[in-house]
């Protein structure tokens, strides 16, 4: 137990050091508050990010706070994850492959009473990292052009507090409050005629978002569930410095001027999901989620947002023949995910489709497991100057389970 705590603190420290840096640099990060991370816990990345109806009995289910009603008593759960992603960016003329490694999440959950639990999770929400080199753009009202070079960095983080309560054997409800905070940096250089104008903007965001969830067990093998993520306003304010350089002379137009900027709006998102177990060793999860971005009336500063549909389907399988044999305790999983995307660029939706496979390797004799997941996906399309991203993603989630408040009988 003592060594476990040492390890845990080690994880937390290391994770936090790499937490603040946003390392994904998708061209689509230009929009909104950046491109969103999928930071799912436990086995969820392996099953196509489905699982609204799964209980938090062997790992922390981040998709539905109601799942916390099923956290085993006296258990303390910890989940930490990281990803390695190889992305090929492709447009009509060329392609380029870039690798990156990212921290995914760190989370704790512990029971409060016999039938309720609380969890705390910290994960990156979005990455606003992008880069544009010498892009030729038309000057309004003329035949002339200017050249833009830009870099973006930073992103938002999500600090999430969830609570789930179970009524009897069948119904569980939960709520979570997500604190979204962070800042994005945007540095742009405009080469206009013979002058260079540099605009450096740091935008700070903060806001709170509530999620409500419920799970209902129809029978011991079949669960239905729903979640409602509430619409919210993420307050934004910016600090901006504008400089122009002409004939190697720098003129500061404005320096660190603080001003309000258009707030970012998050929509009402409604999800429904089912979980069905067959023959005691095959489990299917199916989710559908609708995000009503249209009604957020997002500022054009963030791009053109449209209603989003997400479908996720996953299967887990374990032989469960002999719980004493290690190989029989390994769980296999697969899933698919399709997402229409919430962004419309030049009249085209940026959709995303992925297929995933995974294994869960149990550790010791508890619910602890190492979840390894591989997924392949495509985002965007090659048309109208859009870019297609093909990615191979390897996720490692470590779910640790500790038994609390029970004295070991044999040491």
């Amino acid at each position: 137990m003592k060594s476990k705590i040492v390890y845990l603190s080690g994880f937390i420290l290391l994770s936090l050091t790499s937490f603040s840096q946003s390392i994904s640099s998708s061209p689509y990060s230009l929009y909104g508050v950046g491109s969103l991370y999928d930071a799912d816990f436990g086995v969820i990345p392996s099953i196509g990010s489905s699982g609204i109806a799964l209980p938090s009995d062997t790992f922390i289910n981040n998709l539905n706070p109601a799942s916390l009603g099923y956290l085993p008593q006296n258990h303390f759960m910890f989940d930490v994850g990281g990803k390695a992603i190889a992305t090929t960016y492709e447009n009509s003329s060329k392609s380029e492959t870039r690798n990156n490694f990212q921290f995914s999440h760190i989370a704790f959950a512990f029971p409060v009473t016999k039938n309720s639990s609380f969890s705390v999770a910290l994960k990156p929400y979005s990455s606003a990292a992008f880069k544009i080199s010498n892009l030729k753009l038309p000057i309004e009202n003329s035949q002339d052009y200017y050249y833009l070079t830009a870099t973006g960095s930073g992103g938002l983080n999500n600090f999430d507090f969830s609570y789930g309560y179970r009524f009897g054997k069948k119904l569980s409800v939960g709520a979570s409050a997500a604190l979204l905070f962070g800042s994005t940096n945007d540095s742009r250089s405009f080469l206009i005629l013979n002058s260079i104008t540099n605009i450096q903007k740091k935008t700070h965001y903060n806001g709170l978002r509530a999620t409500l969830g419920a799970q209902y067990k129809i029978d011991s093998t079949f669960t239905i569930a729903t979640t409602f993520k509430m619409p919210t306003q993420i307050k934004a304010s910016k600090v901006q410095t504008v400089k122009t350089v002409a004939d190697d002379v720098v003129t500061t137009v404005e320096s660190n001027v603080v001003s309000d900027t258009d707030d970012y709006y998050m929509p009402l998102e409604m999800g429904i999901g089912i979980s069905k177990r067959f023959k005691n060793n095959l489990n299917m999860t199916l989710d559908y989620e609708k995000s009503l971005w249209n009604s957020t009336n997002q500022s054009e500063l963030y791009g053109n947002f449209v209603n989003q549909d997400r479908f996720a389907l996953g299967f887990t399988y374990s032989t469960k023949k002999n719980v004493r044999k290690y190989w029989d305790r390994i769980q296999y999983a697969t899933g698919v995910n399709f997402d229409t995307g919430y962004l419309e660029v030049d009249g085209k939706r940026v959709n995303n489709a992925a297929i995933s496979f995974g294994v869960s390797l149990p550790l010791e004799n508890t619910y602890s497991a190492l979840h390894i997941s591989y997924s392949y996906g495509q985002k965007g399309t090659i048309s109208n100057n859009l870019i297609k991203e093909n990615y191979h993603k390897l996720s490692l989630n470590l779910s640790l389970d500790g038994i609390w408040f029970v004295k070991r009988k044999i040491d």
């Binding site: 390695a84 880069k131 309004e140 003329s142 830009a150 002409a246 137009v253 030049d346 100057n385």
Partner: protein
């Protein structure tokens, strides 16, 4: 097992710093990029054009003998006389021999050699004629200052000491040779031989200077000659009875550039510029067929005003003017091979009374010029002079006082050439001036 996992995560966390860098070649949504910061061209700001006339230009010490005249279809008659004082390194005949030998020296001839400096303007296929006259007053400025001007003049005798009619070949040939009067040469030779001229003072007293005066009857071009290498050469020889004569020379050159100037006159009667006002005033392009004029030598310059420059402040409330340029277009048919366009325009900043405060400078304080864009198309539509005026407009816009500066355009060699140019104003039919102001919102 835990240790292994710990190591694994440690590795991932450490590697995360080594993410591949992004070259920035993949960009989506170029329309969206213009949402936050709009880059706009403003080309509707009023530009006024007028023509002014400088009082006088300093034409001494310009290192060019400018001679000729021509009748310009637009600017009228242009004429340049060149005045100069001569001197020599020695005022003695060849002194290698004994005094007794001096008596054997005889005068042969005298001639003026003028070296082309490659400058010419007008039609050099036509014969140019000019005469050499002797000055009757010393080459000394009238006023207290040390300079001569384009409107300075000195008295000279009517008698021609030499004349030449030739077709100028300023590029192909090296020089021209003008035979001068034998009487003049012999008299000078005798003065030297008799030791009546022994130094510069006695020489200058005898020959105060020369002036080259073009004939107004048949010249069609103006040509430039080198000051330092042009000379008057006296040829003499030693008489040795039956033996062959030994030739000698004595050169007189312009050793003091301040004692050489060109009197450039312009007769604008009957032209569109007939009523050019005094130097502190201006002639609006509205009165000269929507054109502005520049002529070197005679001091005609083009003035550009921005009457609404202060209003630019209002549009820059949420943005900044980052750069600006003005494109001046020469009027079609006002230039040709005979009347070529200069490669650049010199740009000064002046006040309302045409007093110059200095050259137009960029943000770094370096002088900027109007540069000719030579990319010609079928209709010469893109030919023009581009002047960067971003720094100038920003300064004018933010200036606290009500006074406005104007730009005054001349040609680079204003004091030693006669090139000219005709520019269209903002309302000119085909050769409109274009002001481009680049603005960015933030």
């Amino acid at each position: 097992m835990h240790k292994f996992i710990l190591m694994l995560f440690l590795a991932v966390t450490v590697i995360s710093c080594g993410t591949d860098s992004d070259a920035g070649e993949f960009v989506v949504g170029s329309d969206y990029l213009a949402v936050g910061n709009k880059v706009i061209l403003i080309d509707t700001v009023t530009v006024e054009m007028s023509t002014i006339n400088f009082d006088s230009l300093v034409t001494s010490s310009q290192n060019r003998i400018l001679i000729g005249n021509y009748e310009d279809p637009i600017f009228g008659k242009v004429k340049s006389n060149s005045y100069f004082q001569l001197a020599s390194s020695s005022y003695a005949l060849n002194t290698s021999g004994s005094d007794t030998e001096t008596t054997n020296y005889v005068f042969d001839s005298i001639a003026m050699v003028l070296k082309y400096d490659n400058y010419y303007y007008g039609d050099t296929t036509k014969v140019q004629t000019f005469d050499i006259h002797r000055l009757t007053q010393k080459v000394k400025p009238n006023t207290d200052d040390k300079s001569f001007y384009n409107n300075s003049s000195l008295t000279y005798s009517d008698e021609s000491l030499g004349t030449i009619s030739y077709k100028p070949r300023p590029i192909e040939k090296d020089s021209i040779n003008i035979k001068m009067s034998d009487a003049f040469g012999a008299a000078l030779f005798q003065k030297l031989k008799k030791r009546e001229i022994t130094d510069f003072d006695s020489f200058n007293e005898y020959l105060k200077g020369l002036v080259l005066v073009p004939s107004t009857s048949n010249s069609a071009s103006v040509v430039g000659f080198h000051v330092t290498t042009s000379k008057v050469r006296l040829y003499y020889s030693k008489y040795q009875g039956d033996a062959e004569e030994v030739p000698f020379i004595l050169d007189f050159t312009i050793t003091d550039a301040t004692k050489q100037f060109n009197a450039i006159s312009s007769d604008k009667r009957g032209t569109i510029l007939e009523n050019l006002p005094v130097s502190s005033s201006k002639l609006s392009s509205a009165l000269t067929n929507r054109q502005g004029f520049i002529q070197s030598g005679s001091g005609v310059a083009c003035r550009i005003d921005f009457p609404n420059v202060k209003q630019l402040k209002h549009i820059s409330a949420n943005g900044a003017i980052v750069d600006a340029q003005i494109l001046l277009k020469p009027v079609t048919n006002s230039f040709s091979e005979k009347y070529p366009l200069a490669d650049s325009l010199k740009v000064y900043v002046g006040d309302n009374l045409n007093r110059l405060s200095g050259s137009l400078v960029n943000s770094a304080g370096t002088a900027v010029f109007g540069i000719l864009n030579k990319k010609s198309d079928e209709f010469n539509e893109n030919i023009g002079y581009t002047i960067p005026i971003g720094a100038f407009l920003q300064k004018e816009m933010l200036k606290a006082s009500d006074s406005r500066s104007s730009l005054i355009l001349t040609l680079p060699a204003i004091s030693k050439s006669v090139n000219r140019i005709v520019l269209g104003d903002q309302k000119h039919l085909n050769n409109k001036i274009q002001l481009k102001i680049y603005y960015i919102s933030y």
